[in-house]
Symmetry: C2
Subunit: 629 residues, 2 copies
């Protein structure tokens, strides 16, 4: 007997499902990834669907009281069912950080010019036709020409590609294009194509974040970014942070489940982009991925257990390139899949990518990079040295664990201002009705509440403030009333949310502060601060300083580089020279373990104030807030 | 509903089968390869079985008249059935040519000493335990030590092997053995094993012949050959010679069928050897295969069509090494599978292997190598030059197309002598009752019949000779009467068999003769002749000259090297230096195309006489036969 099927409307897409499977998983399998922050744990309430025909078994807490909607993650397939997915529940159409939105939607590289020598490139060849006097084998004929034309001495040819060679060569009358990947110190033949055409090759740059996975589809010949897409890293179902995922990986089937979760999202995102831009998966011949070291391990199916055990030893930090077929990436089977090299268990290739995107390894000026993600990392250095540290910050600025939090996507409140009437005014990404608040909106919100005196420096809401009310779990600020929101529910910031944000910003700040202290550097000596992270399409630096997320330096010294991870990965994809530089950066970068440093807790506790307990460190911010104390 | 099952007795082995599948295929799937010369076409009558319970559908010609036995290749599964397989129908227990049987059962290398540096080797390592101050990743810790201890700079690590690393390293308390393959200009990590042990690694040398596949299982540390096994190349079902197989490869599914046929036999042979010698398949970490260029293509699934089309261009002649998992060889998934490098479409790696086994590339003396297989190849040269040619000889000396022909195996008549009473006396391999005649037996038989005057120089039997009778298809010589044979049937040599043998020996001789003519060399200048081929455990050189298979030189100049293909492959498996030399030999060897040389037909026709039409070329042989004319 065939299993039940689930039909999704209005897409009219049907998939076979297993009894007991959640509608969230079924939607995912159907290529309709639903919104979800909690990873399918029935917490975030983002994956709302409506049953149109048939039935599903809805677990406790899975029904929206008084409404027709149910949570897809808490609803299980029992038989054939048809489900309607509202626009709001979809991941599609999200606007994604590319690191340079303020300068145009997809400007790929913000700071550093990149030479055009992609990791995977096309070499058109006109082979001499074989004769009885020139009777080299097909492979030797090809290698002879590659040596002559491209100086290539170190060709690796996968068996599958070799199997296609005789027909391609003869059908094309010996005028062909070799698609070559330059990795692992050799040239690998990814494909042989008929005709001489250097175009039509594509690559993907992927930021595998703990919370979000971002994919950019790139034309390898022109360097143009065709499109970008993002989705929740579905590993979130197994925990918000890397530690809980490492623990889960140790359970039976855990590692494989985590691997498939991240791979699945990535493949769906790549598939969607390829379809949207009319690119065949087979023409995607290279991928550069960036992520923290745990993400790297989980993506490649490498046991991550030792990452969290002293002395914190990863299986790899600078992985060789593998073939897509081996990794499970659904692009050309022989596409090269490279990971940005990392430094240690807690400073991964995403930070190397940030450094490349910021260009801090090439300048004389002393700069600092702060990556605000689920892990917070800080790098200090210049072309002579690079030192880094990491701390667990939590996913708050990416929308995780925040009542109305969401990723930087269409409908996210990204700017907030105190209105003349004492209320709050806001604007959203894309300009539509608000669905939630993203990172930059949270920074603005905290700063505005603080400046207005609705919030005190300890992070307590004032009960008498105009936007503050008593909510189900204590005081909360109403940012957008239900009537104006896209969800029909109030968009709020609760006291618990504020505590969460303070813990996150304190951890980020404490990491950087302790690193400068241990290096004996005064924050004032730092000439430039780069900020990376998924805040939104913009970040108000002044407000980020005001809440103590960033050190109190002159605003003009701070550059927001957005998603430096995907930008750096893309730079490496488009330039072998940059790829080579990435290895140098990773090798040069020294990791300082701060988690065992007794000073960290001290720094952290002082930083859970707004902006900080020590106003000497935040003279400008404290002056601005002066009247409040 | 589950499909029917076939149970084999007395092994009591049961396999699931499909309705319509032949019992021959089912036996093969059960790991009980049956004897078969015709490859399952109902011609050779070697695959006899008896039904014990249940039924099978027997095609026309599949029943032994008056007996209970049926041909497995013409009997199809219809439902559950139990089948008895007699000892005679089994391939198991065959005695196989190793190239040096006369000097002991498994002396691996006949002529040339080989340095002990196997292609795959074990490197025991004691890694320093990681600390917070020496916190390299597992991979970097390993590569650092390999660089320090082994000077290895170019390590390639398959993802699967990397996945096992953290556990192996820690369970073994950092005392491990790296199993490394040295191919394709780099070192590949085949496996990581706990503990320091350089032993327990095995390899296989395989001769993939057009008619027969021979496997030797070798201990890589000691170089000892543990055992050998051979089976019919089941591609024979698609034709006796390479040309008919190339044609079949062009049909839908043809190439895959041919690939699986050769792979299947090889895997069964390896499996049997591994089991017999208590070796785990996973401990077989390297394989070197040798075969003609068509066999190479079919084994790797490479389209062979151009091999038979002018200008005869193979896809590859010097293939890179691939991993066993990619090739389909059922040994360690990451084992290195290398093929002996070949020269052209018609001179393959088996000939390179012969040259290495004979050592002719290292000496000053001018020598000639003659490989008598389904293809006949001749090489002339010394350490300064090597020239070769090839011709299609047919499988007669391997038992193909000969009424009572069989491979050199237990029960094969390998020596024949005229008895004082005018009859024939014989001896078999293993000494048991005769089952058929192998190559060396055929050489003896032709020579003895000729010397006795029972056969004239044109290859006609004398009707009045004591052992000659009128058979169903004309005159035939009875070698072993039914009462003395193991099969209960007469072992005979028919007039058609004799014609077949004359065509084969003529082609072999003509190739060599024409090559010397075109090189302007007198056969008398050749100081040594090496003969390779599947004749049996011995070859009577004098008789081979008498029938004109070999040129008429003093007997002491001729050395029979047996299966030089498997010997050369084994030498390369055991010595990276020899492997390197193989590439040099293949590159140095010049191929002369004789098939388009008008002189070939002339040489061939003159050589279809016994020994030859031109007695000036065979003075000694003709003198011996003098009385006959």
């Amino acid at each position: 007997m065939p299993g039940p099927t689930v039909k999704f409307q209005p897409d009219a897409r049907t998939v076979a499902a297993e009894a007991g499977q959640t509608l969230l998983d079924a939607a995912f399998a159907a290529g309709i990834p639903l919104n979800s922050v909690c990873g399918g744990r029935g917490i975030c309430g983002r994956c709302l669907v409506r049953i149109v025909a048939g039935e599903a078994e809805v677990d406790e807490g899975g029904r929206v009281p008084g409404g027709q909607e149910i949570l897809a993650c808490l609803s299980r397939v029992t038989g054939d069912v048809t489900v309607d997915v509202s626009e709001l529940s979809r991941i599609e159409g999200e606007q994604i950080l590319t690191g340079a939105e303020r300068n145009g939607p997809f400007m790929p590289i913000p700071a550093v010019p990149v030479p055009s020598d992609p990791l995977v490139f096309a070499l058109p060849l006109q082979l001499p036709q074989p004769t009885i006097h020139d009777c080299l084998s097909d492979l030797n004929r090809l290698t002879r020409e590659l040596r002559r034309v491209g100086g290539i001495q170190d060709l690796v040819v996968p068996l599958d590609v070799l199997r296609t060679a005789p027909q391609v060569l003869r059908d094309a009358n010996w005028e062909i294009t070799a698609v070559l990947a330059r990795t692992n110190g050799a040239h690998e033949l990814v494909a042989l194509r008929p005709g001489a055409a250097a175009s039509g090759l594509y690559g993907v740059a992927v930021d595998v974040g703990t919370t979000t996975i971002v994919v950019h589809l790139v034309d390898l010949a022109s360097g143009a970014t065709l499109g970008a897409a993002a989705g929740l890293n579905r590993q979130a179902a197994y925990g918000d942070d890397v530690i809980s995922r490492i623990i889960h990986a140790g359970e039976p089937g855990g590692l494989e489940g985590l691997r498939n979760a991240a791979l699945g999202v990535t493949n769906v995102l790549i598939g969607g982009l390829a379809q949207a831009h009319g690119v065949a998966r087979d023409d995607i011949v290279g991928a550069v991925l960036a992520g923290n070291t745990t993400m790297l391990h989980l993506f490649l199916g490498l046991p991550p257990a030792e990452i969290r055990r002293e002395p914190y030893i990863p299986v790899i930090s600078m992985p060789p390139a593998y073939r897509a077929g081996e990794v499970g990436l659904r692009v050309n089977h022989h596409a090269t899949v490279a990971w940005m090299p990392g430094v240690s268990s807690y400073v991964g290739g995403d930070i190397t990518a940030d450094v490349l995107a910021a260009g801090m390894d090439g300048t004389e000026e002393l700069s600092m990079l702060i990556d605000v993600g689920t892990n917070g990392e800080t790098v200090i250095g210049n072309r002579d040295f690079l030192v880094c540290c990491a701390c667990s910050a939590g996913p708050a600025f990416e929308g995780g664990g925040i009542t109305s939090g969401m990723r930087a996507a269409l409908g996210a409140v990204q700017r907030v201002k105190l209105a003349p009437d004492g209320g709050l005014s806001w604007s959203t990404i894309g300009g539509g009705r608000p669905r939630g608040i993203c990172g930059s909106g949270m920074v603005d919100l905290l700063a505005e509440l603080l400046l207005a005196g609705y919030l005190d420096r300890a992070g307590r809401l004032r009960p008498d403030a105009p936007v503050v009310r008593e909510g189900p779990d204590g005081l909360e600020a109403v940012v957008v009333p239900a009537g104006e929101s896209a969800t029909g529910r109030d968009i709020v910031l609760t006291s618990a949310d504020i505590e969460n944000l303070l813990r996150t910003k304190a951890a980020v700040y404490a990491g950087g502060a302790l690193l400068t202290r241990r290096l004996g550097i005064d924050i004032r000596d730092i000439q430039r601060i780069y900020v990376a992270g998924g805040f939104g399409t913009y970040l108000d630096i002044q407000k980020a300083i005001l809440i103590g997320l960033l050190p109190d330096v002159p605003v003009e010294r701070v550059t927001f580089i957005g998603n430096g991870s995907v930008t750096g990965a893309k730079m490496a994809l488009l330039s072998h020279e940059t790829w080579r530089r990435a290895a140098e950066v990773a090798q040069k970068m020294t990791y300082r373990e701060l988690s065992t440093d007794m000073g960290f807790m001290e720094e952290y506790v002082s930083a859970t104030f707004l902006p900080h307990t020590d106003c000497a460190r935040f003279p400008r911010a404290c002056a601005q807030l002066g009247r409040q104390d």
